[in-house]
């Protein structure tokens, strides 16, 4: 059982962890929307968003190294854009870097996407590592996301752990039999693994459904709900909406 990479720090205790999921969802989502819509001419607003997130990170006591490692998910996309920079012909002058000519317009685009994607990813990681997924889903349900979708998401989340375990066991078995994974035809092994995984998953689904029926499942999931949206949650949501918006409006 090794899947600590899934919402690993969501069960710490801090003011941010204790806040209502709705406040955090609305707050972080609006921070992302404001950040993405900020014109990239200035660097100051992005620095300010970043500082705001750092302050929240400090409050949440989630390790900064963990967040930085997770932020690497956006790197492939940033690199992809960086590769295209020499091809941009949108003014802004050009710079020479050895044999390459970098266009100013391209560098602006690179700055734009890097700043925005890194800050947004930071926000999502902070959201998911201060809110456990079941709580996040409860928050989304309160925010009127269709119930069927919520039920699907929560069941999927429940079984992701089981199947990831299954995949890790299969991978271990494969590697201990000397699989190298260097050539195209070795992909066939992956195909067999995925097929086995599908059959096992589906049959598990049938068994789970049968077991649920036996326990009186009728399509509805009943949970004990004790959530309150207090003044503190309201303040958090307000600050997360108001601070970025103010920064954004002042730098226009």
């Amino acid at each position: 059982m090794q899947h600590g990479f899934l919402d690993r720090y969501a069960n710490l205790d801090s003011p941010l962890h204790r806040a209502d999921a709705r406040a955090k969802i609305v707050g972080f989502l609006s921070l992302i929307i404001v950040c993405v819509s900020t014109p990239s001419r200035y660097w100051q607003p992005f620095a300010a968003y970043f500082l705001l997130l750092l302050a929240l990170l400090a409050i949440s006591r989630v390790p900064i190294l963990y967040v930085m490692k997770r932020m690497a998910v956006v790197l492939p996309f940033i690199l992809m854009v960086a590769i295209f920079i020499p091809f941009f012909k949108r003014g802004g002058g050009s710079y020479n870097l050895g044999p390459l000519t970098l266009s100013g317009g391209g560098l602006m685009v690179l700055w734009n996407v890097s700043a925005k994607s890194l800050i947004s990813v930071f926000s999502v990681i902070l959201l998911s590592s201060t809110t456990s997924f079941p709580e996040l889903l409860k928050g989304l349900e309160r925010l009127k996301v269709p119930k069927l979708l919520i039920a699907l998401l929560s069941f999927t989340y429940r079984y992701v752990f089981v199947l990831v375990d299954e995949v890790q066991r299969m991978r271990r078995a494969r590697d201990s039999r000397g699989w190298k994974g260097r050539w195209l035809w070795e992909g066939k092994v992956i195909g067999h693994m995925i097929a086995t995984l599908f059959l096992r998953s589906y049959e598990r689904g049938e068994r789970v459904y049968g077991a649920m029926l036996a326990r009186g499942y009728d399509g509805r999931i009943r949970t004990l709900e004790i959530t309150t949206f207090g003044i503190y949650d309201f303040a958090l949501a307000f600050l997360l909406v108001a601070i970025p918006l103010t920064i954004r409006l002042f730098t226009g």
Partner: protein
């Protein structure tokens, strides 16, 4: 292919977001009609399956690797609506839990993979099924072709979105993305065919879009 936040402009984000919400509503309605609310566990296990299968990296050439997308497989095993719904669930979990794909780009990612990828694959599969005779070989060939197209079509719309947003120049990003994914698509096709072949041998009743020749009855699953 999971686009992060900040790579798309407002127009593209909103337009793809609207299409994604519409697609989600249609898929949820179809799921209720086809399966009723009670079959949530089965669909969820299919979503968890796609999620786990995407963790298996496969070799492309030399040292580089890609991973399985599963859009065509989901379309063929579950049909287009449920397949699309399952892919959406996977993308939402990846965006919320892993920050893999941005929240403001979630609509675009759903559009590319769960709508264009799944329905594109299904349309091609369906047309081939009409055109070709029945039988295992033909079924597997149309599976391979639709799997390749699901990847290439998804990459094409992804490149178009990046180009329209002004993030990458159209003249270079489209050939680059489509070229790379034409290669990745071959592996996707290979894996999808192997999976479809094994499922067909073990549990042919689980392939919702295919009825084998002869009078084999399809077992209704709870």
């Amino acid at each position: 292919m999971h686009i992060p936040d900040g790579f798309l402009n407002a127009g593209v984000s909103v337009a793809t977001g609207v299409v994604a919400v519409g697609g989600g509503a249609v898929a949820l309605k179809k799921a209720r009609d086809e399966l009723d609310d009670k079959s949530v566990p089965m669909l969820a296990l299919c979503a968890a399956f796609i999620f786990a299968a995407q963790m298996l990296n496969f070799p492309i050439a030399g040292g580089t690797s890609g991973h399985f997308l599963g859009a065509a497989l989901a379309a063929i095993l579950l049909g287009p609506y449920l397949g699309s719904l399952v892919l959406m669930v996977v993308l939402i979990i990846q965006a919320l839990l892993f920050a893999d794909g941005g929240l403001t780009a979630l609509g675009a990612n759903i559009f590319n993979m769960a709508i264009v990828g799944v329905y594109g694959a299904y349309v091609i599969y369906y047309l081939l099924k009409k055109a070709l005779p029945r039988g295992r070989t033909w079924f597997l060939s149309s599976t391979a072709i639709s799997a390749w197209f699901s990847i290439v079509l998804a990459a094409l719309v992804c490149a178009l979105e990046l180009a329209i947003s002004g993030t990458s120049p159209a003249g270079t990003v489209i050939p680059a993305m489509v070229g790379i994914h034409a290669l990745i698509g071959i592996v996707e096709a290979l894996i999808t065919v192997v999976v479809a072949g094994v499922v067909m041998a073990a549990r042919p009743d689980l392939i919702r879009t295919y009825q084998p020749a002869g009078n084999l009855t399809v077992r209704e699953v709870a």
